[in-house]
Amino acid sequence: MPHYAGAVPLLTEPTLPLDRVTDVVSTDASLRRFLHGLPGVDQVGAEARAAMLSTRSIKTAAKQFAIDLAISIIDLTTLEGQDTPGKVRTLCAKAQRPDPSDASVPAVAAVCVYPDLVAVAKAATGPSGVKVASVATAFPSGRASRAVKLADTADAVAAGADEIDMVIDRGAFLVGRYRAVLEDIVAVKQACGTARLKVILEVGELATYDNVRRASWLAMLAGADFIKTSTGKVQPAATLPVTQVMLEAVRDFRAATGRMVGVKPAGGIRTAKDAIRHLVLVNETAGEEWLDPRWFRIGASTLLNDLLMQRQRMTTGRYAGPDYFTVD
């Protein structure tokens, strides 16, 4: 199997300078022409490549590095109707010091909560450097008017959110009203101010890899700082081939425009093994530069404990048990 199976041929010249972006997004027709002109995803090739990369054996020192890196790129998430300020404070404490018995464990990248709990999370994380991310825009369905979505976003930003995770209007995307989706994202981006914007594509509802590629480009053209796979409320969520298609999109987008965009798989990544497979995929698809909390995140909650158990297994030489880690 060729090494590049399933990958889009890399665009060599920056073929999409900023003034051309404005052209592309100016009308529904030009946007559709552009998105449908993207090369199709070779589904079999993409899945085979992801499966091949997931057989990479990462051991000893490389595994230690991968586990610490994986911990430091986690968006520790709680998005439940039953969330309380107490639970968010507990989560923030865990985010800053994931393993109380081992100070060498790095802090996670961010905590991710609903907008009404941003203030609590902000107070609990303080100056620790752990960012506070908030979902907004009528998460998880996104079924609300633009005014409501903007108010939701403004609310979270005013409460101090460093990052906003918005959902796209999948209904509009699937019927081909790309311009409406784009305008949504542009408006939310504006409401974010200095907060970084992650755009959730909800790949479980997009049906094909071609759609995932188009939605990724659409979000990036609209100014997303990050593209994120899923809300975590719909299955399937973050699978390796989907993440790969999105990584190819950010890679090609940078080649075309010079702007770097991050990727965040979320939902369904529960074991250290899964996380390490994603890191391999990042390294092999987008490149080493993306192996950084600024450009790659994993949205998860149970994953952290498994990483900590693996880490403890490597430092103590015995298998760890879940009884000795916090329940979250």
Partner: protein, 298 residues
């Protein structure tokens, strides 16, 4: 010249039993098992530490459903095991003859004792709580009960010489009370353990309640003993005193309950007399007593 082609015998591959499935060792290793006279019998899987890890995960996963089943239900499942065991007596007689070098007559009565032993323990499933539990008189307006609960995941090092009766005598008491087990079979006589696993797999015992590993006892025991997600250890089959001490030390890290190897002999090599009527000790070693105070009049 005979017109009948001699039948080509089908050789059996003895594999591990983890989570209700029969995988080969993760490591791909195997080792040769010989009969009592030293003749080659079969290849058995040589489990690695990762197989121990997988077995513990499977045992942990099976725990809630097995310990949550009613005592009556657990008893019925174990009776069913005895029924299936009874139907395969011939196979076990052959395997015990090969493994332990007994005469067919002795082996036949031994296998009968195995089935009887299993039935004996199955009967205790819904009776042990009455015997070791209690209603306690207290100086206050409370009902006060003590009830036995399973300890959790129990690592069992099976007896090295008694490959079937000894095996059943250490395994049955662990699972009858609702524990789940990771069992290291006798290193040189592992085949009856795998055949027993086949019986368990076909007789309503939920996947993961019993997991059987074959391989080097000295290699696997330290990983099992140090594993933080194992709650108790039965070191019955550890013939090496130094190894047993090391296992006890490792077990202390998370306060595992430990049933020590028999020390009837000064060098600790004697196995208990498995033909004797067992007491409750092997069951009570792996239960926790929970005492509940309930106010009267509410």
């Amino acid at each position: 010249m005979s017109d009948v082609t001699p039948r080509l015998a089908v050789q059996k591959t003895y594999k591990l039993y983890i989570g209700g499935r029969f995988p080969r060792s993760e490591s791909g290793r195997s080792y040769q098992v010989s009969d009592a006279t030293g003749r080659f019998l079969a290849n058995a899987a040589m489990a690695s530490r990762k197989d121990v890890r997988d077995a513990v995960v499977a045992a942990r996963k099976a725990g809630p459903a097995w310990s949550g089943a009613s005592a009556y239900n657990r008893g019925q499942v174990l009776y069913r095991v005895a029924e299936v065991l009874e139907g395969r007596r011939g196979q076990f007689v052959d395997e015990v003859v090969a493994a332990e070098g007994l005469s067919v007559g002795t082996a036949t009565s031994l296998v009968a004792a195995v089935v009887d032993r299993w039935v004996w323990y199955a009967g205790w499933a819904d009776k042990l709580a009455q015997v070791v539990g209690s209603s306690n008189p207290v100086a206050g307006p409370y009902f006060d009960f003590t009830v036995p609960e399973p300890t959790g995941v129990v690592g069992v090092v099976a007896p090295q010489s008694s490959s079937l009766l000894g095996l059943v005598s250490v395994l049955a008491p662990v699972i009858v009370t609702g524990n789940t087990a990771v069992l290291l079979a006798s290193e040189r006589r592992p085949l009856p353990a795998i055949s027993l696993a086949e019986v368990l797999a076909t007789s309503d015992v939920p996947a993961g309640v019993v997991n059987v590993l074959t391989g080097r006892t000295a290699e696997l025991t330290p990983w099992l003993a140090a594993h933080m997600d194992v709650n108790a250890l039965d070191l019955c089959g550890l013939t090496d005193t130094a190894l047993a001490h090391a296992a006890e030390e490792a077990a202390a890290d998370n306060l595992k309950r430990v049933l020590r190897p028999s020390t009837a002999d000064p060098d600790g090599r004697a196995e208990p007399d498995w033909s004797a009527e067992p007491g409750l000790e092997r069951m009570t070693a792996f239960i926790e007593h929970k005492t509940v105070w309930h106010p009267v009049g509410i």
